[in-house]
């Protein structure tokens, strides 16, 4: 078998925010580093992040601190988060943001010249460092431009087929470079998965073609455990019209800047239902909500800035009860601020330039003058590789994970802005600890049989006699997940989904590729199917197991929270026979000092 071999101390799979930050840190730790990108460098899904990076810098409101950020994150995640990760994240995020500035990032400024912070859902104080509504681009470009001078090797447009192991330890990865379709073996002392999300398992999603759960599934197949897979974030505001833009994200920043949600009757329906834990922090009238968005420290948050899971369900309710817009969504209006503000149109264009551009160009809507039509879109996976909070190492020694493909920090629901800070905080930690691990242990060698197996699996779609179109299978999978394991779930439908997935698995074994190995998107689609099927099954099984409603997981047959599920997480792994095995694990008791923080902040 023909393949090229590369060797590194640390191999990073994925070049979004987490992968780049990990690679930078591993290099700084003296490791030789290889960085694999699924696309070109700088195109990863991080560029789509719009609103900002959550960090308690306290530049805009000096009442903010890591403690408030920690409590907000736990409340948003409905207390099933890994509290240690939430603590580390809240404590370290400010340093990670300041570090970006030292590497050349240019955030929007306060009047006294510091990093400006904006309001976002579930964050008590203005906390998101941002650049208009293109913060993700700023972050990835800063990391990219800093990283390329740090001595790492970047391998672009590379598809990973398998994570290799040796005696239960990660030993590297095997895959092919897309341009020529040639196989490559990467031997490494430690492997970091930073592959992002899995939104492509759903029909309506904000994710690009890359978000097929690769890291989740590669880790699972290598023997690692996944956790919290039932928790999917449906972002409340995706574009819904015209059809071709369905799912594209509309930043929460619109609401942070004063945007309001209206049903077709013109009613501001978010005032209708305010969850108990947020009642004393939420405005009960429009006037107070507006003052909050304009920086009045005595005012409470408008209900549009409640957590994403709640806002998405309220929108769903309005549509279901017949008060939705023409195309099955609701209205998001920022143009109304003209009544409150001189130069409102300029202000909107300055604070939300890419939203202005996106609606103008793709939907013929001028957001400074008219409302946008929006509805929920599959956005983010709270679940992922089960990692150690301190080191980000998975249950497979030498295999690390960071960013969206790792899990723990977000619990049942992620707060907007916590993703970019998660990438930085835990990307850095993964890089640091992977470098240390590679230094402390010899480099393992994967046996040739594993490599042969990975190669033959990768080439299987070229075998003659296959008839299934991989794009059609992907489409059917997305349709089933959207219909049966979406924003509102019920046991019968999820059981039906398991049946559909079994059928799709059979069809996927007959997926055919036309043409040859050079830059063949049909081939990539066929291989992505395996990942999508694995994560879809994990989502569905865990969602059946959690018989309650919490955060991003809403069960019509169990619409309330259940105490027994509030103290445990669901873990999934591949059993010896190949079947998916679930177990419940108790959440460790929180130390007294963190409990006290939460109590203080719930007042």
């Amino acid at each position: 078998m023909n393949y090229e071999t590369h060797e590194y101390d640390v191999l990073v799979v994925g070049a979004g925010g987490a992968g780049l930050r990990a690679a930078i840190e591993a290099s700084a730790g003296g490791a030789t580093v290889g960085l694999l990108c699924k696309s070109l460098l700088g195109k990863a899904h991080t560029v789509m992040a719009e609103g900002g990076i959550a960090a308690a810098l306290a530049n805009v409101d000096d009442r903010d601190s890591w403690k408030v950020h920690f409590a907000d994150t736990m409340r948003g995640g409905q207390n099933v988060n890994n509290w240690r990760m939430a603590e580390i994240h809240a404590r370290e995020a400010p340093d990670r943001v300041r570090e970006l500035e030292a590497w050349g990032a240019v955030f929007d400024r306060t009047t006294d010249g510091r990093i400006l912070q904006r309001n976002f859902g579930g964050h008590r104080y203005p906390r998101l460092a941002h650049v208009g509504d293109r913060t993700g681009l700023e972050m990835i470009r800063t990391l990219q431009d800093h990283g390329i001078h740090r001595g790492m090797d970047v391998h672009m447009e590379f598809t990973v087929v398998a994570v290799l192991t040796s005696d239960g330890r990660a030993a590297g990865v095997f895959g092919y470079e897309r341009e020529r379709g040639r196989f490559k073996l990467f031997r490494a002392g430690a492997v970091i998965l930073a592959t992002g999300g899995l939104g492509r398992a759903y029909r309506i999603t904000s994710n690009s073609w890359e978000g097929t759960g690769d890291g989740h599934s590669l880790a699972y197949r290598a023997g690692a455990e996944l956790i919290d897979m039932e928790f999917i974030q449906f972002h409340p505001t995706g574009m819904i019209w015209p059809p071709s833009v369905q799912g594209i994200l509309v930043t929460e920043g619109v609401r942070g800047e004063g945007g309001i949600l209206l049903n077709k009757e013109g009613r501001r329906f978010m005032f209708d239902e305010i969850p108990e834990p947020y009642r004393n922090q939420t405005a009960d009238n429009e006037e107070e909500g507006w003052r909050y968005t304009q920086g009045d420290k005595a005012a409470r948050r408008p209900p549009e800035l409640l957590t994403r899971d709640h806002v998405a369900r309220c929108i769903n309710r309005e549509v279901k009860e017949g008060r939705g817009s023409e195309h099955g969504g609701v209205f998001l209006d920022i143009s109304w601020i003209r009544k409150r503000m001189a130069n409102a149109e300029d202000h909107i264009r300055r604070k939300l330039p890419s939203m202005y551009h996106q609606f103008k160009q793709l939907a013929d809507i001028d957001i400074t003058k008219e409302p946008m039509e929006v509805g929920p879109t599959t956005h983010y996976a709270m679940g992922g590789v089960f990692v150690d909070a301190e080191t980000q190492m998975s249950t497979v020694p030498g295999l690390f994970a960071a960013g969206e493909c790792a899990a723990g920090i977000n619990g049942a629901n992620r707060l907007g802005g916590n993703s970019l800070s998660d990438l930085l905080v835990f990307g850095k930690r993964a890089g640091e600890h992977a470098a240390a691990f590679a230094r402390a242990n010899s480099r393992p060698t994967a046996d040739e049989a594993q490599i042969e197996r990975a190669a033959s699996e990768a080439l299987a779609p070229f075998e003659p006699g296959r008839t299934e179109n991989p794009y059609a299978i992907q489409h059917d999978l997305q349709d089933a997940m959207q219909r049966l394991v979406g924003i509102v779930r019920i046991e019968d439908e999820m059981r039906e989904a398991l049946g559909v997935l079994e059928d799709l698995k059979r069809r996927a074994t007959a997926a055919a590729v036309h043409g040859h190995r050079e830059y063949n998107p049909g081939w990539h689609t066929a291989l992505d199917l395996g990942h999508l099927l694995t994560v879809s099954e994990a989502i569905t099984r865990c969602a059946i197991e959690r018989k309650e409603s919490r955060g991003g997981h809403f069960r019509e047959d169990y619409p309330e929270k259940a105490a027994e599920f509030g103290t445990m997480n669901i873990v999934v792994r591949q059993a010896a026979g190949g079947a998916m095995e679930l177990r419940r694990i108790p959440i460790p008791a929180m130390p007294a000092e963190l409990k006290q923080v939460i109590e203080e902040q719930s007042k």
Partner: protein, 246 residues
Amino acid sequence: MTQATFRVWRGDGTKGEFRDYTTGIVPGMVVLDAIHQIQATQATDLACRWNCKAGKCGSCSAEINGKPRLMCMTRLNELPIDEPVTVEPMRAFPPIRDLVTDVSWNFEAKKKIKPFKPRTPDAPDGTWRMAQADVDRVQEFRKCIECFLCQDVCHVLRDHAMHAQFIGPRFLTYAAALEMHPLDAEDRVSELRNLHGIGYCNITRCCTTVCPEHITITENAIIPLKERVVDRFYDPVSRLLRVFRG
């Protein structure tokens, strides 16, 4: 359903041809949707790059009816669809397959530019102070999504293939973002002249015209850099002073 024909370039590094595909179109569709539809139903191996589908990542650059554009931001209702819509790869870069080109030169060009080097922090806690007014112009350049359409349309690269001597509008904009960064303490002026070939730009503004982010590349980035080069190397008074000072 309305039908439209797309005349798509199919080929590899050595040869290629246009092939016609007819597909149904619905209101609001962009060129990338049509390419995806063709890919899913008629030509599963049709190679193209894309990621965000919202004009934010700069992956799906192509030449549509002869104009360098992002496929994801080109609405079909802006094009005359009673005739075939031609879609071909960027021509300033070596072809790989179908709509995919080898843009690796761009990553090499960027690496040659001296990286950001901040001045000493302003505050004891290691942070800096910058006014919004002072970062506005840098933020304009930092909107760049690296789609390389400006490189594609630049005649120095496209017609004269001077990739070895000239970094192109994208990286002049990148250099401008660094040079005009309020915190940056590096000096790139002599490299701009000697290594990056800024003199080859004769400000035809083609780059500015095609920029999907509407960055005023020529006036705001390139001309001010040219002025810095001129001030440093061609100003008669400072030349004279250099003679005396040695």
